[in-house]
C-alpha cells in the first residue's frame, strides 16, 4: 500500500470516526445529568472536545497528504519474495482465530492446557524450524507460569472442568 494513500484513508477514516463519535456515540453512550451548572463541567464536555480534535486532525492529515508531492511507493513488508501475497493475511487470520479460541477455551479447559495448544498453534502458523524445541517450551512454559502464579503469587489460575493441577 502506498504510504500517501494509506495516510489519506487513515485521515478520512479518522474524520468519519470523529463524526460518528460526535453525533452518535456521545449522545447514545455518555450520560449527563440535567442539572449541570456549566457546560465545561458536563461529562460530555471532554469526549466532545476529543471528538472535535479527532475530526480536525483527520482533516489536517488528509489535506496535507492530498496536497503533498507524490511519495515513492512504500515497499510493503511481506514474507520472502516467492511467497504467495495472501499468505501473510492467512497467517494473521489464523492468529486471530487462535486468540478467540484461547479466550473461549480458558473457562472450559483451563489456562494451562489452552496455552499449550495456543503455543503449538502459533508455532505451526509461523512454520517453526525448531518443532521439538517449540513443543518442549509449549509444555514447560505454561506449567512453570502456573506454578509461579498459583503457588507464589496467589493467583487462582483457571483450571477448567476436566483436569485439575495440584
Amino acid at each position: 500500500m502506498n504510504l500517501k494513500n494509506s495516510d489519506v484513508w487513515l485521515g478520512i477514516g479518522t474524520v468519519l470516526f470523529g463524526i460518528f463519535l460526535l453525533f452518535v456515540a456521545i449522545p447514545a453512550f455518555v450520560s449527563s445529568p440535567s442539572n449541570v451548572p456549566k457546560i465545561v463541567l458536563s461529562p460530555t464536555f471532554w469526549p466532545t472536545i476529543i471528538a472535535y480534535l479527532i475530526i480536525i486532525l483527520g482533516i489536517v492529515l488528509t489535506l496535507t497528504r492530498l496536497f503533498a508531492k507524490p511519495a515513492p511507493a512504500a515497499t510493503e513488508p511481506t514474507g520472502d519474495a516467492l511467497e504467495d501475497p495472501s499468505q501473510p493475511w492467512v497467517r494473521l487470520l489464523a492468529t486471530a482465530i487462535v486468540m478467540f479460541a484461547l479466550i473461549w477455551a480458558i473457562p472450559y479447559f483451563g489456562m494451562v492446557w489452552s496455552s499449550m495448544v495456543a503455543f503449538v498453534a502459533i508455532a505451526f502458523i509461523v512454520k517453526t524450524p525448531k518443532p521439538v524445541t517449540s513443543l518442549i517450551v509449549a509444555i514447560i512454559l505454561p506449567l512453570v507460569l502456573y506454578a509461579f502464579f498459583n503457588h507464589v503469587a496467589g493467583v487462582a489460575v483457571p483450571q477448567g472442568r476436566f483436569i485439575t493441577l495440584p
Binding site: P43, P77, A96
Partner: protein
C-alpha cells in the same frame, strides 16, 4: 527531615536479600532481553510487570528498574556484534561499534560500551537524587491549573517527538485520551462508553492496555513476516579496554551523560535522540573526528553514555511530578499504582522512605550492571541463538498469564488482545504507540485537573492563565508546536531539494 534522616529511614527497606536479588534478576533479565533482537527493553519491562504484583512495593519497582537499565545496555550488544540494535536507543552505537567488530575489536567495543553505560548511569542517578526532591518541593505549590498545563505540555512534546509526523503523534495521543474516558465520569459518576458492562465501569485496565500495545504487535509483525537469522555474529576479538582508552573517552562520556540527563528529564524525548546528540557532539569536538564512523572507540562511548544517561533522569518527572517521561516509566508507574502508591510531589511527603530506598537501589544497580554486563557480553553467542519462532509464542503466553493475574479476569485478556491488534494497525499506519499509552495514563489526570480548575473558577477559563507557571507551560507548549512544525517543513523542503537534485 534531612537528607541523611531520609536515607537512614530508607536503608532497611533496601538493605535486604530480597531487594538485592530483585535488582540483580531485573538487570539480568533486562540485559538478556535487550540483547535478543526482536525483544526490547519496553517489552521486557511490560512482561515483568505482572511478576511484581506478589512482591513488596520497593522490591517490585527495583525489579522493573533493573530490567529497564539492563535493557538499555543490553541493546548495545547486538548493535555491536550483528549490526542490529536490540533497542532503538542503541542505533547510534552501530555507527562505530560494528566497524570496531569488523576490525576484530568487538570485545573492546563492548567493554567501552559497558564502562560508559555504568559511568553515565551513576551520573544520571546522582542527578535524579539531586533534582527530583527539589522539583517535587517546587511542584507542591502547583494547583489544578498548573498541573493541567504541565500535562498538556508533556503530551504535546511526547506526541511531537515520537513519530516523524506531528499529526500522527497528536492523533495517537487523542485516541489515548478518548480511551481514557471509558468508565464512570469522575465528577458525576455517570456512564461514559461503558455500555452498562460491569467490566468497563472502572475503565480499561491500564496494564492490559500497555502489554497489548507493546508486546503483541511484535508477535503479529513476526507472524506477518517470519524472519529467521539476524546476521553473522562477530567474534569478540580484542577484549580489554585499557585505562588510557577510558581516560581518552572520559570527556565524551561525561558530556554524553549530561546530554542524557538533560534530555531524559524532559518528558517524551527518550534515549535514542540523546545517544545521537551525544555522538554528534563527541564527533564535533574530538581530535579523532575523521575516524568516527570507521570504528572509533570514543563514538561508542559517547552514544552509550547518551542513552544510559537518560535512565535515571526519566525518573525525575515521574517521581517529582507524577508525569512519566517515556513509555518505560509509564509502565513503572503501573507498579507504583498496583501497590497503591501515586508518584508525584506528595509522595516525597507521604512515602519519602520508598523514594530514598529507590535512590539507594539505583546507585547499587550501576555496580550490578557492571557485573552482569561483563558476563552477558561473553554469553551473547548463546543469547542470539534463541529462535524467534519459540520466543514470540512464549511472549503471547506470558502476556496471557500476566494480564489475567491483574484481576483474575479473562476480560482483561480480551482487552489485551484488542489492544494488540490496535497496536499492530497503528504500527502499519506509522502511528506511534507511545503517545497513545501516555495519553491514556495521563488522560484522567488531565481531565480531572481541568474540571477541578473549572470548579474553582466557576467555569471561567481565565484560571488556566492565573500564574507565571501556567503562562510558562503555555509558552513552552506553543514553542514546542512551532519548533515541531518548523522541523517538519524543513525536512520536507530538504527532501524536495534532494529529489529535484536526483532528477537532474
Amino acid at each position: 527531615m534531612s537528607f541523611f534522616d531520609n536515607i537512614a529511614n530508607a536503608w532497611p527497606l533496601v538493605a535486604n536479600l530480597e531487594s538485592f536479588l530483585a535488582l540483580f534478576a531485573g538487570i539480568t533479565i533486562g540485559v538478556f532481553a535487550g540483547a535478543i533482537p526482536g525483544m526490547s527493553a519496553t517489552m521486557a519491562v511490560a512482561l515483568t510487570l505482572p511478576f511484581t504484583f506478589a512482591l513488596q512495593p520497593i522490591t517490585g519497582i527495583l525489579l522493573l528498574l533493573g530490567v529497564y537499565k539492563g535493557g538499555v545496555f543490553g541493546g548495545s550488544i547486538p548493535a555491536i556484534l550483528i549490526k542490529t540494535p536490540g533497542t532503538p536507543a542503541s542505533s547510534a552505537t552501530i555507527l562505530d561499534g560494528y566497524p570496531m567488530a569488523e576490525n576484530g575489536k568487538a570485545g573492546k567495543a563492548l567493554g567501552i560500551a559497558l564502562y560508559s553505560s555504568c559511568t553515565a548511569d551513576v551520573i544520571s542517578n546522582l542527578s535524579l537524587i539531586l533534582f527530583a526532591g527539589w522539583l517535587a518541593s517546587f511542584a507542591l505549590s502547583f494547583g489544578p491549573p498548573e498541573f493541567f498545563t504541565l500535562i498538556l505540555f508533556s503530551l504535546t512534546i511526547i506526541a511531537g517527538v515520537s513519530s516523524e509526523s506531528l499529526i500522527k503523534g497528536l492523533l495517537s495521543a487523542t485516541f489515548g485520551l478518548l480511551l481514557a474516558t471509558v468508565g464512570l465520569d469522575l465528577v458525576y459518576g455517570t456512564n461514559r462508553f461503558n455500555f452498562n458492562d460491569a467490566n468497563l465501569m472502572g475503565g480499561l485496565n491500564f496494564i492490559a492496555v500497555l502489554i497489548g500495545l507493546f508486546a503483541l504487535p511484535e508477535l503479529l509483525a513476526y507472524i506477518w513476516q517470519p524472519r529467521t537469522g539476524d546476521g553473522t555474529v562477530r567474534a569478540l576479538g580484542e577484549q580489554h579496554v585499557t585505562f588510557a582508552e577510558y581516560r581518552r573517552c572520559f570527556r565524551s562520556i561525561i558530556r554524553g551523560s549530561f546530554i542524557g540527563v538533560m534530555l531524559g528529564s524532559i518528558p517524551g524525548i527518550g534515549a535514542a535522540p540523546a545517544a545521537f546528540l551525544s555522538y554528534s557532539e563527541a564527533r564535533r569536538r574530538s581530535p579523532q573526528k575523521d575516524n568516527f564512523g570507521k570504528g572509533e572507540i570514543e563514538g561508542v562511548a559517547a552514544s552509550e553514555a547518551g542513552n544510559n544517561g537518560v535512565c535515571g533522569a526519566t525518573l525525575i518527572p515521574l517521581l517529582a511530578l507524577g508525569v512519566p517521561g517515556d513509555v518505560i516509566t509509564a509502565i513503572v508507574i503501573g507498579a507504583f499504582m498496583v501497590h497503591g502508591l501515586q508518584p508525584g510531589p506528595m509522595m516525597f511527603v507521604a512515602n519519602a522512605n520508598i523514594i530514598y530506598a529507590l535512590f539507594i537501589g539505583l546507585i547499587l544497580s550501576s555496580v550490578l550492571l557492571l557485573v552482569v554486563g561483563s558476563v552477558a557480553v561473553r554469553l551473547f553467542r548463546y543469547i542470539v541463538d534463541v529462535p524467534r519462532s519459540v520466543l514470540l509464542p512464549s511472549v503471547l503466553i506470558l502476556c496471557v498469564y500476566g494480564v489475567y493475574a491483574i484481576n483474575n479476569n479473562v476480560f482483561d485478556v480480551i482487552v489485551m488482545f484488542a489492544m494488540g491488534w490496535l497496536g499492530y494497525m497503528m504500527m502499519r499506519f506509522g502511528m506511534p504507540a507511545a503517545p497513545f499509552l501516555i495519553a491514556f495514563i495521563l488522560g484522567p489526570l488531565l481531565e480531572d485537573n481541568f474540571r477541578q480548575a473549572m470548579l474553582m473558577s466557576n467555569g471561567d477559563l481565565q484560571i488556566l492563565f492565573r500564574s507565571w507557571i501556567t503562562w510558562f507551560f503555555w509558552a513552552v507548549t506553543l514553542a514546542t508546536v512551532i519548533a515541531l512544525i518548523r522541523t517538519g517543513l524543513q525536512q520536507r523542503a530538504e527532501a524536495k531539494a534532494l529529489k529535484s537534485k536526483s532528477a537532474q
